[in-house]
Symmetry: D2
Subunit: 141 residues, 4 copies
C-alpha cells in the first residue's frame, strides 16, 4: 500500500472516544471481530465531517462512498466498558478512490489497525466521480 | 392483551430454525438481549411470506408495517451454537394495526416470549391503511 | 406499572449523547427497532456507574443483573447522523428486582420510551440477592 | 497469498443458505458492510463442524481460534430478503495458523469475497498450538 501517512502528523488524525457496551462483546469477553468495522465507520463519519461537509450532505449532493475493501488486523482485544480511542486519517486519494487508515487504542496500547477503500460514485446511476476537493484536502494539505 | 391465540392451533404457527453464531452472544456467554428482536424479525418475514406476499412485495405496493411497540420476556438464555426454534403467529388485527406473538424454544424448552405491534401505513405520506386481507386471513381463517 | 418516577426530578436522570452511525440504520432510513435496546444498555451502564460502582465491578463482586423484561414504544424514528439524547432513571426497586425507564430524544422531540426489568442474582449459582444499596439509593434519595 | 485453493474442488467447499433480514440492511438498502463478517462466521462454524468437532467442542477441549486478520472485497451488494449462498473453504494451514476463504453469492452472481486468518491458542494462557489434525485434514485430503 502506497500509504505515506502511516504515521500522519497529529493534526491529520481524527480521534474519538468510545465506551464499549455489552452489546459489542462476545462470549470470549472481548469485542466481537466484526464490530471493529462499525468503530471504523464511526470514525469515518467524523473524518468526513472534518472536511466541512457531513456524509449526510454528501449524499444529499448526490454522491456516495461505497466500501470496496475493508481489512482489520487484530493485535489485542477490547473489552466491555473499555474507553477506546478510535483514530483515523485519509491515507491517499486517487481519482474516484480513497483509502482511510484506522488505529484503535486503549490508552497508549494499540488494539487493532485497519483500512477501508472507497469509491466515489453518483447515487443516481453509480457513475464514478472525482473525490470531492474538500475531502481530498484532508490528505494534501 | 386480548390475545385469544396464546396457544394457537399448530397450523397457524410459523416455525423456523436458527443456529446461534458467536456474533449473537455477549460476555455472559448468552445471546445478547436485543438480538431476540432480530430473531422476531426473521420470523415475521416468514409469517408475512406465508400470507402469499413477501414484505418486499408489500413495500413495493406502497405500504409499510412500522413497529409501534416491542416486548420480550426472558425466561432462559440461548447460547452459542444452539439450534433455536423460532415460532410466531398473528394474534389479532384491528383496523390498521396488528400484533404478532413470538415464542423461542430450544427443543421443547421455552427461552423467551414476546410480541410486536405494527401499524399499516402508506410509504408515501404515512397515512394509515387497513391491514391487507391476505395478511389478516392468517388470523381469521 | 407502579412507576412514581415517570417524570423524575432532573438530578435523577442520567443523560448521554449518541451519534447514530450507518450501522444502526435499516433500509427505511431509520434506526432499526432492535438497536434502541442497545441504546438502553449504553444508558444503563452510565446509570449504574452513577451509583459509585461500574457494572464491571458489580460482576467482579459476584453479582449480575440479567434482563427479565424489555419493552420499547416507538413514537418517531431516529435517523443517520442524528445526535440523540439518551436518558434514563431507576424507576423502582423491590427486593431483588428493579426497573429502569428510558426516554430517547432528538433535541426536545421524544422518539422512543421504554423500560427494562432486571433481577439481581449471584453469578455463581444464580441465587437472588437484594439490589445493592448503592444502586437502590438512586431511587430512594 | 499462497492460496492454492482459490477454486477448490466442490467437495471442499462448505455451502450454506441465508435469508437477509431487515436488521442486516442500512439506509442505502443494502447489507451493511460489517455484516458480511458475521456471514463469514456463520460459514466458519459450519466448516469447523464438518471436521467432526464443533467449535464449541474445540473450546471445551481448551483451544480457541482468535481472528488475527479479516478482509472483505465488495463486488455487488446483497439486499433485504435475498437468499444468499455463503460458501467457504480452508485455504491453508501452517503450524498454529490457518486461513479460511469466503465467497458469497446470490444465485450464481458473486457479491463478496474475503478471508480470515486465525491463530490456534490455548484458552488458558494463550500459548500457540498446532492446528488440530481433524481440522487441517479439510485442506490436505
Amino acid at each position: 500500500v502506497e500509504n505515506t501517512y502511516l504515521f500522519p502528523p497529529e493534526e491529520k488524525r481524527v480521534v474519538m472516544s468510545y465506551r464499549v457496551p455489552y452489546a459489542d462483546t462476545d462470549q470470549m469477553s472481548v469485542v466481537y471481530y466484526a464490530n471493529y468495522f462499525v468503530f471504523f465507520e464511526r470514525l469515518r463519519n467524523e473524518l468526513i465531517r472534518k472536511s466541512g461537509k457531513t456524509y449526510l450532505e454528501i449524499e444529499q449532493s448526490g454522491l456516495m462512498f461505497p466500501v470496496v475493501e475493508a481489512t482489520c488486523h487484530y493485535v489485542r482485544s477490547a473489552q466491555y466498558d473499555d474507553e477506546l480511542k478510535i483514530t483515523g486519517w485519509l491515507a491517499w486519494v486517487q481519482g474516484s478512490r480513497f483509502q482511510i487508515e484506522y488505529e484503535i487504542l486503549r490508552g497508549t496500547e494499540q488494539l487493532v489497525t485497519g483500512h477501508t477503500i472507497h469509491n466515489v460514485i453518483t447515487m443516481d446511476g453509480g457513475r464514478p466521480r472525482r473525490v470531492p476537493d474538500c475531502f481530498s484536502a484532508l490528505v494534501t494539505q
